[in-house]
């Protein structure tokens, strides 16, 4: 189980996280919601080891971890583009393998297989980055806004892969597209006022002012 607690993060005078706790076990998908600036992305970066918090207590299977990425236990999808621009799509697809890239996805991506990452649209690039991260052998996957920028059919494809991978891996994902997130998550938590609340349904999101009212 991955557990992070007592996280303290300040940028100058501004306190972003204070005493925050989050856990995720292998075989569980945790959806993390919260308004802009509440510290969701920072929390994922702190877990991965890219961002240094003033204080944190990160454990994986009761073992204290300092730089999670060094142990290859955790893979992390950041919000920004991160795959080198010279890599070819075909190479990325080969790296991903058939557990992530189904025949149907392969057929859809065939026309761009010879292109380099630099030549792709923002959505195509994002989709491939998501696939690459989902194919990593790490036990825990951190996905920061996987559904943003991409087309509806790609969201559905990613949801299927996340559900499949979530059977054996622990997945923490955050996104402002809360419906696709809620559809795949086993447990949903909302970061609000430096605290983490369990969310059962959309009505709870209204209660905590994450959405203004229920819309169907």
């Amino acid at each position: 189980m991955l557990q992070i607690d007592s996280v303290t993060l300040r940028f100058g005078e501004r306190e972003i996280l204070s005493g925050c706790y989050l856990s995720c076990k292998a075989g569980e998908i945790v959806g993390l919601l919260g308004r802009n600036g509440c510290g969701k992305s920072s929390l994922l970066k702190i877990i991965f080891g890219t961002l240094n918090a003033q204080f944190k207590h990160l454990r994986i299977d009761d073992k204290i971890i300092k730089k999670a990425f060094a142990g290859k236990n955790i893979a992390y999808l950041p919000q920004h583009k991160f795959l080198p621009s010279f890599l070819k799509v075909g190479k990325i697809l080969d790296d991903c393998g058939p557990s992530v890239v189904s025949q149907e996805t392969m057929d859809r991506l065939k026309p761009i297989a010879g292109s380099r990452m630099n030549d792709l649209s923002g959505g195509e690039r994002r989709f491939l980055e998501c696939l690459w991260i989902l194919s990593r052998p790490a036990t825990y996957l951190l996905l920061d806004e996987p559904f943003s920028e991409i087309a509806p059919y790609q969201i559905e494809t990613l949801q299927d892969i996340i559900r499949e991978k979530g059977k054996e891996k622990g997945i923490i994902l955050t996104d402002h597209l809360y419906r696709p997130l809620m559809e795949v998550s086993d447990r949903i938590v909302l970061m609000h006022n430096n605290a983490v609340y369990n969310i059962r349904n959309e009505s709870d999101l209204v209660l905590y002012n994450y959405i203004s009212e229920l819309s169907f």
Partner: protein, 99 residues
């Protein structure tokens, strides 16, 4: 090795500049230890110059289990070793040719 080549390819311009500066130093200061020390300082300069660009791809290398600084140091060391071998070979050839 693949990961080093990928990193090298991303920053090939900077490493090429480092090698050209190294050759220029070799021609003007033919004392290898001094050249090596100056080149290490030059690498430090490259790291600070390209730090923001390295940060852009940081996550890719971290997802493969490496920190960007660790990769940079290893690639710089490989480049330095290859460059040293090259200038030593040139020096030997020049010496024997003169004889």
């Amino acid at each position: 090795m693949k990961i080093y080549l990928q990193f090298y390819r991303l920053y090939v311009v900077w490493f090429s500049v480092a090698n050209i500066v190294g050759i220029w130093l070799f021609l003007s200061l033919p004392v290898i230890p001094v050249i090596l020390i100056l080149k290490i300082f030059f690498y430090i300069g490259i790291y600070f110059l390209t730090a923001s660009s390295i940060r852009k791809y940081l996550c890719y290398f971290q997802n493969l289990g490496y920190s960007s600084l660790a990769i940079f140091l290893r690639v710089a060391a490989i480049n330095l070793a290859a460059f040293t071998l090259l200038i030593s070979a040139i020096k030997i050839i020049i010496t024997y040719a003169a004889d």
